[in-house]
Amino acid sequence: MDNSGILPRGALQSLLDALTDRGYRTIGPQVRDNAIQYLDLADVGQLPAGWTDDQAPGSYRLSRVESPRCFAWATGPQALKPYLFCSREVLWRAERDATGKLDFSTSQTNGAPVAIIGARACDLAALALQDRHFLGAIRDPYYDARRDTLFIVALHCAFPADTCFCASTGDGPRAKQGFDLALSELDEGFLVEVGTERGAAVAAQLPLQPSRPEQHRQAEQEIEEAAHQQFRQLPSRDLQSALFARLEHPRWDAVAARCLSCGNCTSVCPTCFCHAEQDVPALGGARTEHVREWDSCFSVGHSHLHGFVVRPETRHRYRQWLTHKLGSWHTQYGRSGCVGCGRCITWCPVGIDITEEATAITGDNWEPRGSA
C-alpha cells in the first residue's frame, strides 16, 4: 500500500468535499439515538468527535472523552451491510392492464453512488464475505449495482470494545483489504494510505503534508495495542468438525433456555445474508410488489417447509446459527462466517456471547451418550 502523507485534522472536510464533487453520497458515523450510526454526512462537524463507547454483553453506552479524535470508539449497531444488502427492498413489480395482461418491471437500483467514511477492518472482512455470497455463481443485481460504485474510506481501528475479537479471527484491527483509502487517526490528523487507483485520484486532490516516521510508528503502535486489548477469542481449533460432532451437546439446551429467539444477533451480524421474499399486492389486486427483507434463522419462516417447520425450537435455531456461522461456512465460502466484530454479543438483549458458547460446546471432550 502506498502511504501518501498526513491530512491535517483541520483539513478533513476536503476529503468529504472531494467525494461529493465526484458525485458520491457521503456516509459516515454520527451520534444518533444513543448510538454511533452510519448516516448521511455533509460536514465533518457531524462526526462523533469526543465520543467513546462502552460495550458489554447486552449493553452499549456512549460517553464523552477529552479528545480531538473522531473515531475513538468501536463498531456501532450497523455499518456497511444496510447500504448494500437493504433491510427491505422491492425487487420487481407486476401490473395487470385492462385486458388482464401482466406487465413485469424490475425496480431501479441506480441511486447516487455511496462513499463510506470510517469502515473498520471487521466490516471490510464481512463485506468480502457478503461479496462471495451475493456476487458468487448467481449475481444479485441489486447488491451488485450498489457494490460496484461503493467507495470505501477505511479506518485502522485503535479503539476496540470489550466485545471485539477481530484479532482472534484474523480480520482486524488493521484494515487489510478492500478499501480505496485507509486512514490512521492521530491527534493531529489522519495518515492516508491509498488502496486503489480511484483512491489515489481522490488523495491527489487532498491538501496532504509529508508524514514523519514517528507518526507512522505511533499509528502502528495503536493498532498493535488494539489487538492486545482484546480478551475475547474464538477457540482456535477446527470448529466445523467440533461443532458437527456435538449436535447433541447439552449446552444447546442451556443456551436455548436463555435465548429469546429474537434474531437481533443475525440482524446486526455484518455477514448474515438470510432474507425472506413476499408479494405485497395493492388493494384490488391490479398491482403487486415483490419485496425482499432481512430474515433470520431464529424466525419460524426460515425453516418452514410445506406443512411443517424444520426448526421449531430455540435450541434448533441457535444451533443452526452457530453451526452455520462457525461451521458450514467453511464449506460454503471457504472460511468462518465470523469476523469478530462482537455485535451479536453487544446487541443481544440478554447478552449471549458467541465466543463463550463456542468455547463451551467445542472445548470439552464431550461424547454423545452410548458412543463410549
Binding site: N34, S59, Y60, S261, G263, N264, E293, S299, W347, P349
Partner: protein, 263 residues
C-alpha cells in the same frame, strides 16, 4: 359479480381499532369500491342484522347482551375476523379477570352499580364463538387490516406474521432501547405487525400486539428482573394489554399481586 359484503361490529372496546380502519384514508375509499360495507357504525353505516361475507369484530365480550349478539354475528357471517387486542385477547377490560374484581370495580366506579350488567369475566371473542382469523394490536395497524381483507378477497388464508418485534425493529434501523438505555422493552416476546413503532420513537415496546411465536417468557422475565424491575412492573409488562393471552397470562401471573401491588 356481486361485491363481497362486510360488516364491522363493536363490542366492549374504545373504538380505536375502528378508527385505525377509518384512518386508512385513500385505501379505504378503494376498499369501498371493492366491497359493500353493510355495517360500520363509526363510518355511519348501520345494519346490524346484515348477512355478510366478512365480519370484523372489535371488542371483548363482557356483557350478557354481547354474548347473544356475538352468536348472531357468527350466524350471519361467512368469516369472522377479530380486530385488535380486546376482541383477540380480552384487552384492558380483561384485567378484572385477574382477581375476579368485577363486582369491586363496579362498586368503585359507578354511582348506581345495580344498573351495570357485566359478566364476571371480559373474554376474547374466541372464548364464545369460532373465529376464522385474528388481528392483534392495540390498536390494529390499518395496513395490516387492509392486507388481511385483500387476502380474504383473493380467497386465500391471510398471512399471519408471528415473528418478534425485534426483527422489524432492526429492519427499520431503530437503535435497541434495551441495550442502549436498559429500558424494559417487550419486543423480544411480542408479535410483529406495528412496524416497531415504539422503539422507532425511543420507547420500549409494551407488548400491545400480544405474544410472538416461540417466545421465551422465562428469559424475558429474568432480563426484566436484571434491569431492576419490581414484580408489579414485570406483571404490568406482561398483563397490561393482553392479559388473557395464555402465554402472557402464564408469564405475568406469578408476579401479580392484587392491584399490581408489590409484596
Amino acid at each position: 359479480m356481486q361485491r363481497p359484503h362486510i360488516a364491522v361490529h363493536k363490542f366492549s372496546s374504545c373504538d380505536g381499532c375502528q378508527l385505525a380502519f377509518l384512518n386508512a384514508g385513500e385505501d379505504l375509499l378503494e376498499l369501498a369500491q371493492l366491497v359493500d360495507i353493510r355495517h360500520f357504525l363509526e363510518a355511519g353505516i348501520a345494519d346490524e342484522y346484515a348477512q355478510v361475507d366478512i365480519a370484523f369484530v372489535e371488542g371483548s365480550i363482557s356483557t350478557s347482551e354481547e354474548l347473544t349478539r356475538i352468536q348472531r354475528v357468527r350466524a350471519n357471517s361467512r368469516f369472522v375476523v377479530t380486530l385488535g387486542a380486546c376482541a383477540t385477547a380480552g384487552g384492558l377490560q380483561a384485567l378484572r379477570n385477574l382477581d375476579d374484581s368485577n363486582e369491586a370495580w363496579k362498586h368503585a366506579v359507578y354511582a348506581q352499580p345495580e344498573f351495570i350488567q357485566t359478566l364476571d369475566q371480559a373474554e376474547p371473542v374466541s372464548a364464545h364463538i369460532e373465529v376464522d382469523f385474528e388481528l392483534w394490536g392495540c390498536p390494529v395497524n390499518g395496513q395490516q387490516v387492509l392486507a388481511a381483507v385483500q387476502q380474504l378477497l383473493f380467497g386465500v388464508t391471510p398471512l399471519d406474521p408471528r415473528d418478534k418485534v425485534c426483527m422489524e425493529c432492526k429492519r427499520q434501523h431503530a437503535v435497541c432501547v434495551m441495550v442502549t438505555e436498559g429500558r424494559p422493552c417487550m419486543g423480544p416476546v411480542t408479535r410483529t405487525g406495528c412496524g416497531a413503532l415504539c422503539p422507532r420513537f425511543g420507547r420500549d415496546c409494551y407488548a400491545c400486539f400480544g405474544p410472538a411465536e416461540n417466545l421465551n417468557t422465562d428469559a424475558m422475565s429474568q432480563r426484566l428482573q436484571g434491569l431492576g424491575l419490581p414484580p408489579s412492573d414485570i406483571a404490568r409488562r406482561f398483563l397490561f394489554i393482553n392479559s388473557h393471552a395464555p402465554a402472557f397470562h402464564a408469564a405475568g401471573r406469578p408476579f401479580y399481586r392484587e392491584g399490581f401491588a408489590d409484596d
